[in-house]
Subunit: 210 residues, 2 copies
């Protein structure tokens, strides 16, 4: 998406002027942020990919969200009610922008223009986030593994403007994302292949009919 907004220039200016925003790089499997009650940190993913993960009391891992460039995350968007740890983990080398939620809608002392820009940019990102979450809810609402897969493939296809695409997860992670058993998901993929609905070579999928 194009926000008509030069993030990198903006960040440089902001960092020079504001000092309440900072950037950090993370490597694969590092924890970017662990959600803590009452703090109000917000992050924007500038580069890389990351997952919001929880291990629930059965030991099941849930991938609650999957982030890529320009996605926002942080504890402001979450009501922390249980004790189960909730954290965002880098899936590859990632650059992340950190700031506190309150700087977005309050002016800084110097009344700098960067706050205004961040605020506007942030609003766009928030709308995108809500849209993504709604799509994910529809995905999880599908009643069968088959429907979840087909729906997910369809979303990727629309995103990539093509009937062929690579799944941006490992299949193990995809199963956690769709909230189904991995082996059952593999079985269903096999059936979809056998029925001529998709072509699958490794993590690359082509939709033939839908």
């Amino acid at each position: 998406m194009n926000y008509n907004f030069d993030v990198n220039k903006f960040i440089e200016d902001f960092k020079n002027n504001c000092s309440r925003i900072y950037e950090k790089t993370f490597f694969k499997n590092e924890v970017i942020i662990s959600y803590i009650k009452k703090r109000e940190q917000v992050c924007i993913l500038l580069e890389g990919t990351a997952d919001l993960v929880r291990y629930d009391r059965n030991g099941d891992r849930i991938i609650i969200d999957h982030f890529s460039k320009n996605d926002i995350f942080g504890e402001v968007f979450y009501n922390i009610t249980t004790n189960n740890e909730l954290f965002v983990e880098a899936k590859q080398k990632s650059k992340v922008l950190f700031f506190s939620y309150d700087i977005i809608h309050t002016k800084c002392k110097s009344n700098c223009k960067f706050h205004k820009e961040l605020s506007e940019y942030f609003n766009e990102l928030v709308l995108d986030k809500i849209t993504d979450l709604n799509m994910r809810i529809e995905l999880l609402s599908k009643r069968s593994i088959r429907e979840k897969l087909l729906n997910y493939f369809n979303l990727l296809s629309i995103q990539k403007f093509s009937k062929s695409f690579t799944i941006p997860f490992s299949l193990t992670d995809l199963a956690d994302y769709l909230s189904v058993d991995r082996s059952a998901m593999m079985r269903e993929m096999k059936l979809l292949k056998e029925e001529g609905i998709i072509v699958k070579t490794g993590n690359r999928i082509t939709i033939l009919q839908h």
Copy 2:
């Protein structure tokens, strides 16, 4: 939740001053808004309850979201990609505030203070919305009907500050909301009762252990 903000007074002032915002009352089963691509309507539910509903290509009804007082909804939050109609339906007599998304972040000609207030209030509501959506995603991620029910009951219990509460849905709708078969859900509720985990009389639940 308390936003330290007098919505009703605000609305009166706004309607008198701005004319780009209006309020309407709906009765049970009436369609409040049908989501249309490219339009950018936003609604705030002032009174009553309503559901965001879709019928998918299998004829299954999905309750994508359930709204009560102060919830926001509208097509800005949705990417309309399929042809399946998507609409919000009043579940009881409801009062709804309508306006276009663009009025929130642009000043009106008279530079009135209401825009500023609406903008601030709106930001609070947006955060709440994201929090709700995230909770719902976790709920739908639960791997079994039992886990979904217990998780949902737990949320209600926290919301109502009590181990006893009334389910704000019909059980038929709750099944659609949790995205499970109604009879299977009833069976699971029965088991939870028999195992002494909950007490259930009609739509009233008491959690005994969890």
